[in-house]
């Protein structure tokens, strides 16, 4: 296997999990509240910085406990955001709340700047095992192995929870019609809060994975979250599995572009694909076709 192809494959895996996880969190929020959250990128940043604090800066936790703690902190952050800000007023249109999350994203990023400063940080190397040799010349580094393991576990857990359990079904019911769901005796507030918690936690995990692969640059990291949008549209806005596959597709497009065309073309080709998908298959690969064609 040529080394170019090997690079593409390995790069796709790491970046694919980043977009996939951000997208999963996005879908969790979208499916249960109808809100398109622009704050995912900022939650990514906060996740990476919390992980930096607990593993590198202060407590020197291991990569697994560090990740668990990050997930917990971010889940609390997301739930608190809903409870304190977004969920305080019911009956605001999801579109309006979606625009409000643009403001939320700025606020979260600035709070992160105040707590951690906007300086670039790097995680300490904390993985003790060596990389794996997959084939003759594809080598997975420690970070890549960690990414794949963590990404697979979180993705599998979420796909199960959101797609196969009663809670996941209820969340979907809340998004379809909050009123009807409330009449059915569902606790709309608590379910939305849980969705925001899940959304923030998965974004946080994506932040850690991204930071592991390169470094954490607080000024630009939230913009990486924006690239999850082509991914989820490709997969289908409301499809859990689609978000992950879409993430991998976008990552593959980016890596292929980088290797064969040039890294300057990465984003533009991704967004062009997005526009083309909107033209020919607006519901995405796995999404539900929407009835309202207004």
């Amino acid at each position: 296997m040529p080394s170019e192809l090997a690079n593409i494959l390995v790069g796709t895996f790491t970046l694919g999990f980043v977009y996939g996880l951000v997208g999963l969190g996005f879908v969790a929020v979208f499916r249960s509240t109808g809100v398109m959250s622009f704050a995912q990128g900022s939650f990514m940043l906060i996740g990476a910085l919390v992980f930096y604090s607990v593993t590198t800066d202060t407590w020197h936790l291991g990569p697994i406990t560090g990740m668990l703690l990050t997930l917990a902190v971010l889940a609390v952050c997301g739930a608190a955001t809903y409870q304190l800000v977004l969920g305080r007023i019911l009956g605001v249109e999801p579109v309006t709340v979606s625009v409000a999350t643009l403001g939320l994203s700025i606020v979260l990023q600035m709070v992160a700047f105040m707590i951690w400063t906007p300086n670039i940080v790097q995680f300490r190397s904390m993985l003790s095992f060596n990389g794996h040799e997959l084939f003759a010349n594809i080598r997975l580094s420690q970070e890549q192995t960690y990414t794949i393991v963590v990404g697979t576990v979180i993705t599998a857990a979420l796909v199960l929870v959101l797609g196969r359990t009663r809670v996941g079904l209820r969340m979907k019911a809340v998004a379809e019609s909050p009123e009807l769901a409330a009449y059915q005796g569902l606790n709309v507030r608590r379910l939305s809060m849980a969705a925001w918690g899940i959304g923030a936690a998965t974004a946080g995990a994506a932040g850690v994975i991204f930071g592991m692969a390169t470094q954490v640059e607080p000024g630009t990291l939230p913009a990486v979250g924006l690239l999850a949008f082509p991914a989820i549209l490709l997969g289908g806005l409301d499809s859990i599995g689609g978000a992950v596959i879409g993430g991998f597709l976008v990552a593959a497009i980016q890596n292929i572009t980088q290797v064969w065309i040039g890294s300057a073309w990465q984003d533009v080709i991704c967004y062009s694909v997005l526009l083309i998908v909107m033209f020919i298959r607006p519901q995405g690969l796995f999404g539900t076709p929407m009835v309202a064609r207004l």
Partner: protein, 355 residues
Amino acid sequence: MTAVEEREIVPLKPTSGFAQVTSRLRTWHVLTLVAVAFEFTTSSSYAVYISTLIVFYAIAALGQGLLVGKTGQVALGGAAVMMIGAEVAGIVDATPVGTVFLIPLAAGVLASATAGLVVGVPGLRFKGLYLILATLALQSIASFAAQKYETAHAPGGVSTQGLRLGSVTIQADKLILAVMCLFLVAVLLWIRRIYRGPIGRMLQVIKERDDAAAVFGINVRAWKLWAFVWSSAITGLAGGLMVYFLRAASYQSFDLTIAINLLVMVYIGGAGTIAGPIIGAALITYAPTAVNWVANTVFNAGSSGWMSTNISVIERLIYGLALLLVLLYQPAGINGFWQNTLRRIGALLRRGEVA
């Protein structure tokens, strides 16, 4: 579309001539007069500079307000169409037809409108958030194209030779401001005509109940596209004017932050109104100066210490908070809040008169 009739509000008491004049005089008429009087008497070139910026952003925000406020459709394409307007105007300005600045300007507007059309067709296939995604794509593609053009033909950005009318060039700062104000007034009058006419009422129906509008036989998608193309054209005009004022423009100055800024202006001022985007543009453009002033005089920030190193962070924080809180708690924006307050005061006064 004359189905929706405008209901005349009949005053309870016969009003005097003076009351008739004052009731037609809106608050913002007075404020505008005061602002204009200040601008043309001030000797501070900084005040003129800031005002000119406010005029651009007011035009751009009015354009975005036409879409966001009147159709309820959100887009993040403001910066991209401004960029297209500016780049195309700059490119055409260098050609022989550029001697009259109106021609490059018109070319920029046309290009922005075309970009709106190209992105609006897929973006408006479904209602809701698809247009945001489509305009994100536009932002990326436009800045990529502009970057490619600039590195090949115009290192550092496109430039113009100022407001040329044949052999005459408008040079004085205040005169430039006056020209920009003329454009603002033209846009304002046009938008007012739309808002108060049948098209405005139709767009309002689309915003409130698009399903009902479709039942009435309104082609919802076509009219949303109409609004999006016009909003792109007006916002593009602001970009074109900007490259004439600053005499140069680069794709880097039109990033996503600007697009979000324009939305913030519309929402903070009051979406769906005419005065709202202008109020928003003035507030957001002036905000950095105001925050600096408060930090320095009230909190005594000085040149060292936490306050001074974090001043830009605080500025962005206030800005984000403002967007968040206004959208959730005061969706009608400052203009709506002000109108409500006026109405309440009026109601109180009337009650007093009756008693």
